[in-house]
């Protein structure tokens, strides 16, 4: 299943989309117009590229690899809504308790650094025998 479709199945997610690092191509699902998705894609791409440069700069001051680069993404937490970006995926979600962590876990599992099954990762936060709880 596409990550955008997967994100949209989470209650509280308003819109999710994918943008190209180069060019102006994008796709999205959710409760925003095509023009808004286009603007969101441009905004997210510009911010991501800018932050990539910033991370490159300050990591060069670390004695060794400081663990920050390459950049995975960013979050802007608004009053009632948050914007999450990981890789070239963006997601607009409400600030419902628990939602931000779930969205970030799924996004990092799909395009970020979580290599194992995201369900295992999420259950691991609860503690105890994860394997027994899941299987």
């Amino acid at each position: 299943m596409r990550i955008i479709t997967q994100l949209m199945q989470i209650p509280g997610v308003i819109a999710a989309g994918e943008y190209a690092y180069r060019g102006d191509r994008y796709s999205y699902e959710g409760n925003i117009s095509s023009e808004q998705a286009r603007m969101a894609s441009i905004l997210c791409r510009a911010n991501t590229l800018s932050m990539n440069m910033q991370v490159e700069l300050f990591s060069s001051f670390a004695p060794e690899d400081c663990g920050c680069k390459p950049l995975q993404g960013w979050i802007v937490r608004g009053r009632d809504m948050s914007v999450c970006v990981v890789g070239n995926i963006f997601c607009f979600c409400q600030n419902t308790p628990g939602l931000l962590n779930d969205v970030m876990t799924i996004m990092r599992a799909k395009v970020g650094d979580i290599e194992e099954n995201p369900l295992v990762y999420m259950y691991a936060k609860i503690g105890g025998d994860v394997h027994e709880k899941l299987y």
Binding site: Q36, Q54, F61, W74, L100, N101, M104
Partner: protein, 114 residues
């Protein structure tokens, strides 16, 4: 309130306090991490700059689209490969991605701003 409170956030590797311009005022670092005061200082400058940009974008987005709920901003997070920096106001916390609880981090930072 002290940086000790931020160091209690799940996965916290460092906590820091900075001026409105992003200059590092105080910090705490968990032993064994590669985060130096210089990196934290630059990180704070980055976060201040990105919060300002995010405020501009949120304000513009609300005006252009009529959507509300973004302003005032409650914080910003930079998600790196191994860790994330979560900031709001003049405080920030660096959390290990593997143990990150972003909501807990934003909630802890909101206590400082209140």
């Amino acid at each position: 309130m002290s940086l000790d409170r931020l160091m209690q956030v799940p996965g916290a590797l460092a906590a820091f306090h900075y001026t409105d311009k992003g200059d590092l005022v105080a910090h705490q670092v968990k032993e064994g991490t590669e985060l130096t005061p210089q990196v934290l200082d630059l990180l704070a400058h980055t976060c201040v700059a990105n919060l300002a940009v995010a405020t501009l974008e949120a304000r513009g987005w609300e005006a252009l689209t009529g959507q509300t709920g973004f302003e005032p901003l409650q914080g910003f997070s930079l998600v790196g490969l191994d860790w994330s920096a979560v900031v709001n106001g003049n405080y920030g916390v660096v959390v290990r991605n593997r143990d990150a609880d972003y909501e807990a981090a934003f909630a802890a930072l909101a206590e400082f701003k209140a």
